[in-house]
C-alpha cells in the first residue's frame, strides 16, 4: 500500500500530512495516558505492535499475479483503538521509508492515513458495533482485522485516484483502476490475516485475559465465554 517517494504531488503530500499529524498527536497523548494508568498494557502494546512489524514485512503473492503485504493493524485497533495504532504504524512506515526505500518521508502522511488511520478507523467502527452484541469474540477479531486491512488499500487507491484522475472518466475511473491493483490483490491476504490474528487473540485471551478486561477491550462475561468456547 506504500505510495512511493516522489509519486504524489507536494500539495497532496501536504494535505495528507495535515490530516495525519493531529491523529498522531492524539495517539501519543492516549498512549501516555494508557501507560500511566496501567503499565501492564506495555507488553500487550509490544505484541500488537510486533504483529504490525512482522506482517507488514511479508510480501505475499496473490491471485492477481502480483504481491502485497498484510498490515497487522487489527489487534492493535481492538486493544488500543485507532489513534494509538496510528502511532505504531507511523514507526513501522518511518522504518520502511528510511531503510527500505518503501514509501518515503514526503508521502509518509498519506501512507499513515491509509494504513494507520482509515483502515484502523473502519476496523474500530466494526469492533464498536459488535463489541456488546452476542457475536463471538473471534469472529469480531476476524472481521476487524480483515476490514482494517482491506480499507487500508481502498484508501491508498482513493489517495492515488484523487491525485491522478483519468483523462476520460476522471476520479471514478482512476479509482476503479487503482482498486483493481491494490484492493483485489488484497482480498485473500486480508482473509488469511483475519483468521491468523483471531488465533493470536485466542492465545492472548488464554494467557492474559485480565489485561483485556482492565482495558475494557471486551466485558469479563464475553472473555469468560471465549475462554470456555475454544
Amino acid at each position: 500500500m506504500h505510495i512511493m517517494e516522489g509519486f504524489l504531488p507536494w500539495q497532496w503530500c501536504l494535505i495528507w500530512w495535515i490530516i495525519a499529524l493531529p491523529c498522531l498527536m492524539l495517539g501519543i497523548y492516549q498512549l501516555k495516558k494508557v501507560l500511566n494508568v496501567d503499565r501492564e498494557a506495555l507488553p500487550l502494546l509490544g505484541v500488537t505492535g510486533g504483529f504490525i512489524f512482522i506482517l507488514s514485512s511479508l510480501k505475499l503473492p496473490s491471485v492477481t499475479g502480483s504481491c502485497s503485504h498484510p498490515t497487522g493493524t487489527g489487534l492493535s485497533t481492538i486493544s488500543f483503538g485507532p489513534w494509538i495504532t496510528a502511532v505504531v504504524c507511523a514507526i513501522v512506515l518511518l522504518f520502511q521509508s528510511l531503510f527500505l526505500a518503501h514509501g518515503g518521508l514526503s508521502v509518509l502522511g498519506a501512507n499513515i492515513v491509509s494504513m494507520g488511520i482509515v483502515g484502523p478507523l473502519v476496523g474500530y467502527g466494526v469492533y464498536r458495533l459488535l463489541r456488546d452484541t452476542s457475536v463471538n469474540i473471534y469472529i469480531t477479531v476476524f472481521l476487524v482485522t480483515a476490514l482494517a486491512d482491506m480499507f487500508t488499500y481502498v484508501t491508498t487507491s482513493l489517495e492515488l485516484a484523487l491525485a491522478y484522475p483519468a483523462g476520460t472518466g476522471g476520479f471514478v475511473s482512476s479509482f476503479i483502476l487503482f482498486m483493481g491493483i491494490f484492493a483485489v490483490t488484497q482480498v485473500p491476504l486480508a482473509i488469511v490475516e483475519g483468521v491468523v490474528l483471531a488465533l493470536v487473540f485466542k492465545y492472548i485471551v488464554t494467557l492474559k485475559p485480565d489485561i483485556l478486561i482492565r482495558l475494557g477491550v471486551f466485558s469479563e462475561k464475553k472473555i469468560d465465554a471465549a475462554r470456555s468456547e475454544i
Partner: protein
C-alpha cells in the same frame, strides 16, 4: 473441549488454501510476475500522468538499499524485531500463567 482447536484448524486450512491458490495462479496465469502491487501501482500512475516512471524524482532525497539482497536483509530485520517482541511477551505471559497455576 471438542472445539478446542477450531481456530488452529481454520488457520491451517486458510494458509493451505492460500498456498494452493498461489500455485494455481502461478501455473495458469500467463504473465504473472508477482511484482509488488506498489510497483504495479507506480506503473499505473506513470500511465495516467503521461510521465515515465523514471521521471518521478523523490521530493525528499532518500537512501536506497544498494542491492535486493540488502533490502531482503532489512525486511528480515523488520520481521525479526516484531518476532522478538511477540515471542518475548508471549514467553513472559506463559511463564506468569505457569507460575499462577503452580501456586
Amino acid at each position: 473441549m471438542a472445539y478446542k482447536y477450531t481456530l488452529e484448524i481454520l488457520a491451517g486450512i486458510s494458509i493451505v488454501a492460500f498456498c494452493a491458490l498461489f500455485l494455481y495462479t502461478s501455473a495458469t496465469m500467463s504473465g504473472a510476475e508477482f511484482a509488488g502491487s506498489d510497483n504495479v501501482g507506480s506503473g499505473l500512475i506513470a500511465k495516467l500522468s503521461g510521465n515515465a516512471v523514471e521521471n518521478f524524482q523523490p521530493l525528499i532525497p532518500q537512501w536506497e538499499p544498494p542491492s535486493g539482497e540488502i533490502e531482503a536483509c532489512l525486511f528480515a530485520l523488520q520481521a525479526a524485531v516484531g518476532g522478538i517482541l511477540v515471542g518475548g511477551v508471549f514467553g513472559f505471559w506463559f511463564g506468569q500463567a505457569r507460575g499462577r497455576n503452580a501456586e
